[in-house]
């Protein structure tokens, strides 16, 4: 075991993993965290905590991670390189480990122009792949980037994100290979709607033997309405939504849209389980956390292995 | 009270606007004597500096008259002029003179009546706007017995 986290154990045992996501509040209100976390309890192996996602200031992921630990849940701390330099990053990794956090997801971070503080200076001292290298060096070589020995090694299970559909498509597998070379242990993808294109991606992954070097969790997001489906297709960078899905959501009409969205989601999970190299799913039920239990149950993924 | 008679400079291109002005004269069309015409080979010769200098020298209004778009004798001179006039309007606005004291018009050589119409239109517009703020400023300055602004260049 590299870190000994619950997520690592589930994946290493070969059990199909389920991770969830929690977006912290835009303030210091802990009750929001508690409410969302309790909806995910028992339904997922680890909970991703986003880090000032879309550059909107929210409670820090390290703090929320610590709160989840106190609640007896397992966090995956997301860390972006947009806001912190290498000094702050390494310091936060020490702190996160000390607070019991064992999973980290290394990300670039949305540009601050999208958020509520567009005039801020951005950092990007490291990029996301260099962050993976940093965490690996701290864990395996027991050193910080500058070379000093570490007093108390933060042994983290290292994750990263990959978007199989972002441009340029041909390059995405190469970028995944780079992350593997940098030391990543698990990957969570952006939410998948186009199964065929994802299968093609996974084929390229298997051709390079990457599926044996890294655990890939496919991203899944249940659709709530045809409007949401269209928005994802047109406005979100790197998102592919086949017309077939849009039509299904449209045909369902207003009353049945949510039901159909959940149906599609469960079907997708079942299909993903069949793809060789996919070791789990990352369920992002954005502002719909109350449906996570139903989705995971209908997909036949309950009960989750007990975290010891 | 004396009616304010504006001083208006019209930069007219030789091939269209100036010829139209000539035609207006031949047709004995009436247009205000406030217009002082400056003939240029093409409105593409217009530089933002000439337009600003006209106001510095006391013009109440300025316009640039060129060929119809697509018919410029030098092909795109009037399109360049359009952009420069737009820039000069912004500068005049920022300087407190008012961008609406400067305009661009397009006409063909045969449009004598249009030339006269533009001349009347512009004169009336500037009359409504009143004397250039520069002159109003000069009045204030003179009453304070300050020296008039002098420009020197290297």
């Amino acid at each position: 075991m590299k870190a000994g986290s619950n997520l690592e154990k589930v994946l290493t045992n070969g059990t199909f993993a389920v991770t969830g996501e929690l977006g912290p509040p835009k303030g210091a209100d802990v009750s929001v965290v508690e409410r969302k976390a309790n909806l995910l309890r028992g339904n997922v192996d680890a909970i991703n905590v986003t880090d000032n996602q879309t550059a909107i200031v929210r409670m820090s992921s390290i703090a929320v991670g610590a709160i989840l630990k106190q609640m007896g849940l397992e966090p995956t701390m997301q860390m972006v390189v947009r806001d912190r330099n290498r000094i702050a990053i390494q310091s936060d990794i020490f702190g996160a480990y000390a607070l019991g956090i064992r999973n980290i997801l290394c990300l670039s971070g949305d540009h601050q122009k999208f958020g509520n503080h567009p005039t801020a200076k951005n950092v990007f001292d490291l990029d996301s792949i260099q962050l993976i290298q940093t965490v690996k060096k701290m864990r395996d070589e027991h050193k910080v980037l500058g070379g000093d020995e570490i007093e108390g090694v933060p042994a983290m299970f290292i994750g990263a994100a990959e978007n199989p559909f972002a441009d340029p498509f041909e390059y995405r597998v190469i970028r995944l290979a780079k992350k593997v070379a940098a030391g990543v242990d698990f990957i969570q993808t952006q939410c998948i709607y186009d199964m065929d294109k994802f299968e093609r991606f996974m084929q390229m992954v298997r051709e390079r033997g990457l599926h044996q070097k890294v655990h890939i969790l496919a991203g899944v997001t249940p659709l709530k309405s045809v409007g949401m489906a269209r928005y994802m297709k047109d406005k979100v960078a790197g998102m592919e939504v086949p017309d077939e899905i849009i039509n299904r959501m449209k045909s369902a009409g207003k009353e049945k849209a949510k039901e159909e969205g959940l149906n599609i989601c469960v079907e997708q999970i079942k299909k993903l389980r069949q793809i060789e190299g996919v070791h789990g799913i990352h369920l992002m039920a954005i502002e719909w956390e109350e449906k996570v239990h139903e989705i995971v149950e209908r997909a036949g993924l309950l009960p989750r292995p007990e975290a010891k | 009270m004396e009616k304010f008679e504006p001083t208006i400079i019209a930069f007219c291109c030789h091939f269209c606007a100036y010829t139209a002005a000539d035609l207006a004269g031949t047709m004995r069309l009436q247009y205000p004597a406030n217009i002082r015409i400056v003939r240029i080979p093409c409105t593409g010769k217009i530089d933002v500096r000439f337009l600003l200098e006209a106001f510095e020298k006391g013009a109440d209004g300025v316009y640039v008259a060129g060929c119809l778009e697509g018919d410029c004798h030098f092909l795109t001179g009037n399109l360049r002029a359009k952009k420069r006039v737009a820039m000069a309007k912004r500068i005049l606005e920022d300087a407190g003179i008012g961008g609406d004291r400067l305009e661009m018009y397009n006409m063909s050589a045969a449009m004598g009546p249009r030339f006269a119409e533009v001349a009347r239109e512009m004169t009336e517009k500037i009359r409504q706007l009143g004397p250039s703020p520069v002159k109003r400023g000069k009045t204030v300055a003179q009453s304070d017995k300050q020296a008039l602004p002098v420009r020197s260049s290297e």
């Binding site: 947009r82 670039s108 949305d110 540009h111 122009k113 999208f114 951005n122 990007f124 001292d125 490291l126 990029d127 996301s128 792949i129 260099q130 290298q133 994100a161 990959e162 978007n163 972002a166 441009d167 340029p168 390059y171 190469i174 970028r175 290979a177 780079k178 070379a181 940098a182 952006q190 960078a237 790197g238 | 530089d47 933002v48 500096r49 600003l52 200098e53 106001f55 510095e56 500068i91 005049l92 920022d94 300087a95 407190g96 003179i97 703020p133 520069v134 109003r136 400023g137 000069k138 204030v140 300055a141 304070d144 300050q146 008039l148 602004p149 002098v150 420009r151 020197s152 260049s153 290297e154």
Partner: protein, 222 residues
């Protein structure tokens, strides 16, 4: 070259408020090439400032000068004989030139007439875009001649990020994704394998982060 943009006239008027006799000095270097502070722009700005002052009924005497450059002592000296006759100097050179004038003409308040923006190129007449961030340790050999620091909005060294869409950056569809450009170029050159190498963590000490920089050529010092 260094690209600059003229400051808004209102801002300049506020700066020169206390003065009625100023020197407006342009530069025949970069700011002439990017049409921000050359002889022409000196003329236009001076005209606009005089007009503005005249509307307020106040006078403004301006001497309009355009020097070869403002970043070399020798080229600033020609201003020496007449500078004392003016209360302030409004410079349209890049930030370096403006500061050098301030250093060499210590009795005069020296004001910036332009905002210095970036190191860039003329893409077409009237359009200038950023190319270089002067980071001090160039990696252009590894990225097909396209700079990841300047042309990627996040300065990623192992991009692109997940926001790259149809060759454009997530923050603005008018901005090319720097890493898409690098990918395309390396593909053209048949050097795609360069992208499989993880580019190492950058040493930012050679950049502005390391403090104000200095370069010396001992063999040229007198």
């Amino acid at each position: 070259m260094i690209i600059a943009e003229g400051k808004p006239i209102k801002e300049i008027l506020a700066m020169i408020e206390p003065y009625d006799k100023i020197l407006v000095v342009g530069c025949k270097g970069c700011v002439t090439v990017c049409s921000a502070g050359g002889e022409k722009e000196v003329g236009i700005l001076s005209s606009a400032l005089r007009l503005a002052r005249q509307t307020q009924g106040k006078s403004l005497e301006i001497k309009e000068v355009t020097l070869e450059r403002q970043c070399d002592t020798e080229y600033l000296e020609p201003m020496r004989p007449y500078a004392d006759g003016y209360q302030a100097i409004l410079s349209l050179a890049c930030g370096a030139g403006i500061q050098f004038v301030a250093e060499k003409f210590r009795k005069h308040p020296v004001l910036p007439g332009v905002d210095t923006q970036f190191i860039g190129v003329t893409e077409e007449q009237g359009v200038w875009t950023e190319r270089c961030q002067a980071c001090g340790s160039c990696v252009l050999d590894r990225t097909g001649g396209i700079c990841p620091v300047a042309r990627c909005s996040k300065s990623l060294f192992n991009g692109p990020c997940g926001g790259s869409k149809r060759g454009k950056c997530e923050i603005d569809p008018e901005i090319d994704c720097g890493w898409q450009l690098i990918y395309d170029r390396l593909k053209e050159l048949g050097q795609l394998e360069k992208l499989e190498i993880v580019l190492p963590i950058k040493d930012w000490t050679t950049s502005r982060d390391g403090g104000p920089r200095k370069r010396v050529r001992e063999d040229l010092k007198i």
